[in-house]
C-alpha cells in the first residue's frame, strides 16, 4: 500500500502555535530502511486512526547516537545526544514515542544525564494505551487461528523490563500467542545490538539470527512478531535462511494492529 501520508513536523506545529500530544521519534531505520519504513507508516496510520495529535522532527531529527556509543565512540554519541537534546528542549518536548527500542533506551535512560528528560514510550506501550483507552479498536478476525510468536527485543525487555505491553497488544488479535523457549528475561538476542547491525559478525559457527530464526520457526508460527526494526531485519533474514519466507512472515506489532484494524 503506497500512499502519501501527511505527517506534521514539530516546526510546523510550533509555527501554528499548537503543541502536539506526543513527538514521534522515527529513528534512522524507520526513516531510511525500506522495510522499517513500512513499520513507520503503519504506526502513523494507527496514530491517525486514534486521532493522536503527533509531530515528527523531520529533517531536524538525527541519530540518537546509540550505535556510536555501543561501539565505544562516546564522543560521537555525546555529539549526537547534545544536538538532539538542544532541539528537543528547544521545542519544549515532553512526551516521545518511538518504534525503535534502541532510540527508546537512549532517549529514556541516557539523555537525562545530558540534560534531556522526557517521558518516553515504546510504540507497543503507546498502542497498548490507545487500545485500553478505546481510542483505537481492532477486530482480530483476520488473525483467527493464526499462531504468533513474539521476539523480545533486548533493549526493550531485558534492558527496560517491558515484556507485557507487546504481548497485551498481540492478545487483542484473535490469534494464539505461542512462546519460544527463550523468551522474556531469557530471550535470545537477534544479533543486531551493540552496533553489530553495522558490521560483519565476528567469526563463529553460525549467525545469531539463524539461531534465533530456527528457534522462532520451532514454534510453528504463521507470524513472527517483532518490536524493533533491527530485530525485524535479522529475523526476516533468519526465516529466509531456512527457506520459510513463503510460510512465515515477520511483522512488527504496529503492522499487525494496523492490519487488524484495517487502518
Amino acid at each position: 500500500m503506497s500512499q502519501s501520508l501527511a505527517v506534521p513536523t514539530m516546526a510546523a506545529f510550533t509555527a501554528s502555535g499548537e503543541v502536539p500530544e506526543v513527538l514521534f521519534w522515527v529513528g534512522c531505520a524507520g526513516s531510511f530502511d525500506d522495510r522499517a519504513r513500512k513499520i513507520t507508516k503503519a504506526f502513523v496510520r494507527i496514530l491517525n486512526a486514534a486521532k493522536v495529535k503527533f509531530a515528527v522532527l523531520g529533517q531536524e531529527e538525527t541519530c540518537t547516537g546509540d550505535p556510536a556509543r555501543r561501539a565505544g565512540n562516546e564522543f560521537l554519541f555525546q555529539m549526537q545526544a547534545l544536538q538532539n537534546v538542544t532541539v528537543l528542549n528547544g521545542y519544549g518536548v515532553k512526551r516521545i514515542v518511538t518504534a525503535c527500542p534502541h532510540c527508546f533506551n537512549t532517549l529514556k535512560n541516557e539523555y537525562p544525564a545530558l540534560g534531556g528528560s522526557y517521558e518516553v514510550m515504546h510504540h507497543t506501550q503507546f498502542i497498548n494505551a490507545l487500545l485500553k483507552e478505546g481510542r483505537i479498536k481492532v477486530q482480530g478476525g483476520g488473525f483467527n487461528g493464526k499462531r504468533i510468536t513474539f521476539h523480545d527485543p533486548c533493549y526493550l525487555g531485558r534492558g527496560n523490563n517491558e515484556y507485557e505491553a507487546p504481548r497485551e497488544v498481540l492478545l487483542k488479535l484473535d490469534a494464539a500467542l505461542v512462546e519460544m523457549k527463550r523468551s522474556k528475561q531469557n530471550g535470545l538476542c537477534c544479533g543486531a545490538g551493540g552496533a553489530q547491525m553495522f558490521k560483519e559478525a565476528e567469526p563463529g559457527a553460525r549467525e545469531v539470527n539463524h539461531e534465533r530464526g530456527e528457534e522462532a520457526l520451532g514454534t510453528k508460527p504463521d507470524i513472527i512478531a517483532a518490536g524493533c526494526p533491527f530485530c525485524n531485519t535479522m529475523l526476516t533474514d533468519g526465516v529466509k535462511h531456512f527457506n520459510k519466507e513463503g510460510e512465515v512472515v515477520v511483522k512488527d506489532v504496529a503492522e499487525l494492529i494496523a492490519e487488524a484494524g484495517e487502518l
Binding site: G65, A71, E74, E202, E207
Partner: protein
Amino acid sequence: MIAQVVFGILLIAAIALFARNLGRIGRNIHLGKPEAINDRKAERWSTMARVALGQSKMVVRPVAGIMHSLIYAGFIIINLEVLEIFIDGLFGTHRIGAFLGGFYDFLIGSFEILAIGVLLACIVFIARRAIIQLPRFHKPEMKGWPSKDAMIILVTEIVLMCAFLTMNAADFVLQGLGAEHYTQAGSFPVSAAIASTLNLSNLQPSTLITMERTAWWLHIVGILGFLNYLVVSKHLHILLAFPNVWYSKLAPRTEFANMPRITGEVKSMIDPSVPPPDPAPARTVAGAEVPERFGAKDVFDLSWKSLMDAYSCTECGRCTSECPANLTGKLLSPRKIMMDTRDRLEEVGEAIDAKGKWEDDGQSLHSRISEEELWACTTCNACTQACPVNIDPVSIIMEMRRYKVMEESSTRPALTSMFNNVENNGAPWAFGADRRMEWTNS
C-alpha cells in the same frame, strides 16, 4: 593443655593470614577507579536479601539451585558449630553449648542432617562436572586451574563433612559408654546410624577417643585451611557475593554510564565560547601515576566495582551459556572476561607486593582479552541477567571498546564508516537529513 596452646596458635595464625590476604584483595579492588555507589539504599538491601541471601537467581536452574541452597544453608548453620569448636578448642571443654539442653540437641541434629545434605550435593556437583560433563564447565577458559579449583572445593567440603560426622559418631558412642569428658549432649540422627552400621561400639574407648580427636582436628584444621584457600579461589564468592550484590547496577541494564569529561569536551566543541575542561589529573595508584584515559586499558581504568565483580565470579558459566555470541561459536565468553580481569588484577597485585609499588609491565587487560572477543558482544545483557551474583561483564567489555576506539582509533572497518555516516549525515547509513521525510511518500 598443649593441645589448647597448639590450637590457639593455629587459630590466630590462620585468622591473621586470612585477614592479611583479604586486605590484599581489598587493596587490589581499590586499584580501580573510584565510583560512588550509595544511592537507593533500601532497594540495595532488598536486592541483597533477595539475590544473595535468598539465592533468587540460583534457583532459575532448579537442580543446581536446590543443591547450592543446601550447601549454602549447611555452610551458614555449620558455622555455629564451628563457634563451639573454637571455644572447646581454646578452653579444653567439651560441647560447651550443651547447657542449651533440648535446643542444643535440635541444633546438632539439624547440623547432621545438613551435613549429609551438603555431602550429597557435593557428590552431585562432582558428577555433573566429571561424569555428565555439562558443556559450560568444559569451555576453553575452564582448562587447568579453574576446574581443579572447583574440584578442590568440592572434595574439601566432602572431607570436612565426613570429618564432622565421624567426630560425632565416635562422640555418640563415647557418650553412651559414659567415658570421662564426653558429657551427654546433642542428638545424632545421622552419625548414630553411621556408628551402628560400622559397629563402632565394638571399639576400645581409647580407639574411639583417637578417632574423635583426629576427626575433630581434621575438621577444624580443614576449616582454617579452607578459610585461607578462599582468597586464592573462586570460592571467595561466599564472602563477596553479599557486598557485590549490594553494589549491583540498579539502572536499566541497557543504560550505559555517562562519561562526564567527554560531555565537557563535546560542549566546548559545539559552542566555542565554552572553554574545554581542564585535563583530568593523573591518579596516583600504588605509587605510580595512572593517566586519565578514555575507556579501559588496564585494571586501573575500570571501576572498582568491576574489579569486585571479577573477584566475586564463581566461574559458574551461566553467563556464557546464555551469551548469543558464545552460543554461535564466537570467541567471546563473558565468564572469560571476568576471569581474565581477575587474573590480570592478581598479576598486577603480585607485582605491587613484590616491588612495593606499581611499575608498568608492558601488559594490560588487552593482552588477555582480544579485539575479536570485544567486538562480538551485542550488549544484549543475557549475561547480566543470568549471573546469580549480579556481575556485569558488559561494562568491562564497553570500557575496553571505548579504549580501543577513542585512544587507539582501532575498530572494525564497517564501524568506521558507520561513525563517519553518523558524523556527516546524522544516520548510520549514507543518507542525508534531506531524505529523512521520504518515507511519507515512498
